[in-house]
């Protein structure tokens, strides 16, 4: 069946016939599974691209979009599929201690934990601990940081060989958000930890802690408890930071 393409097309025009989408680029009609998407190499990019045209380069494994004046890489310095955070797992419950085990492996050097709590049954501060083989590490947390208030200067907080790393305070139904970064927990070396958190209630604004766990032990999980023993209603999500 002959295809009767439109006369006098301009770059970027598409034409659908028989369920197939054709795009006019580089002075000719090219068939594409998705309009405007093409497979090229870094040396065979379209010479007359249209604004919004997306290409994939097989030699660099990168995607680009034509912004009207230049090809703009869709992702950062690595291919789209190799960038960003990789979801590992999550857990949601109401309990005195919430944990995730089996999440730290040699697949990633660095991990991001996102913690959200919607209720605690008593005012207190959250405690973060690493876990190995289902058992929490209960000493050797060294850290310093600040607790923030909306009506007063920040107050220093610190711990030396503590049983946990304390971070944000919370009360009742105050919403707590914490971003917890853990570096190389699966290696039997001291484990760097940073925690930034906020829980807005009264005049409290949040906390910022950084430090490390000092034992040369490999860990595969973590847990969160409150120093008042309150029941926490919350969710833990853990992600690996993709490296290539």
């Amino acid at each position: 069946m002959a295809i009767d393409f439109p006369n006098s097309p301009t770059a970027g025009d598409t034409f659908t016939v028989g369920g197939k989408v054709w795009a006019y680029t580089d002075g000719k009609w090219a068939i594409n599974a998705v309009a405007g998407v093409g497979v090229f190499t870094s040396s065979t990019r379209p010479t007359t691209p249209y604004e919004g045209q997306v290409i994939y380069e097989t030699d660099t494994d990168l995607s680009y979009v034509w912004g009207g004046a230049a090809w703009q890489q869709v992702s950062g310095g690595t291919a789209v599929g190799n960038s960003g955070l990789v979801y590992i797992g999550a857990y949601s419950a109401s309990a005195t201690t919430l944990f995730i085990d089996g999440c730290f492996t040699s697949t990633y050097n660095n991990y991001m934990i996102v913690f959200e709590s919607t209720n605690v049954t008593a005012t207190g501060s959250f405690m973060f601990k690493l876990r190995a083989s289902s058992t929490a590490a209960t000493n050797n947390y060294y850290y310093g940081g600040l607790q923030y208030f909306t009506n007063a200067a920040a107050a220093a907080a610190q711990g030396s060989n503590d049983s946990s790393m304390l971070f944000s305070a919370a009360t009742g139904a105050s919403y707590t958000f914490a971003s917890i970064s853990v570096s190389r927990p699966y290696i039997a070396q001291p484990t760097p930890i940073t925690i930034d958190s906020t829980s807005y209630y009264s005049n409290y604004a949040g906390g910022s802690m950084r430090g490390y766990h000092g034992l040369g032990t490999a860990y595969d999980g973590f847990q969160i408890t409150m120093n008042t023993g309150a029941t926490i209603t919350g969710i833990l999500r853990v992600y690996g930071v993709r490296q290539a």
């Binding site: 944990f99 049983s163 946990s164 847990q223 023993g229 853990v238």
Partner: protein, 45 residues
């Protein structure tokens, strides 16, 4: 008297655990509360 509940998941195996603290965990729980009860007082009024 019931003890506090520990609840979580092993994401490698998919196994979910929800149980009361064991003896070691309960002793640590009491020690944590005692050790940190004066930390992070209420925000300024």
């Amino acid at each position: 008297m019931t003890r506090p509940i520990i609840s979580g998941i092993n994401v490698e195996t998919g196994q979910i655990v929800e149980r009361e603290y064991n003896d070691e965990e309960y002793a640590q729980y009491l020690a944590d509360i005692e050790a940190s009860k004066d930390l992070y007082p209420e925000p300024p009024a």
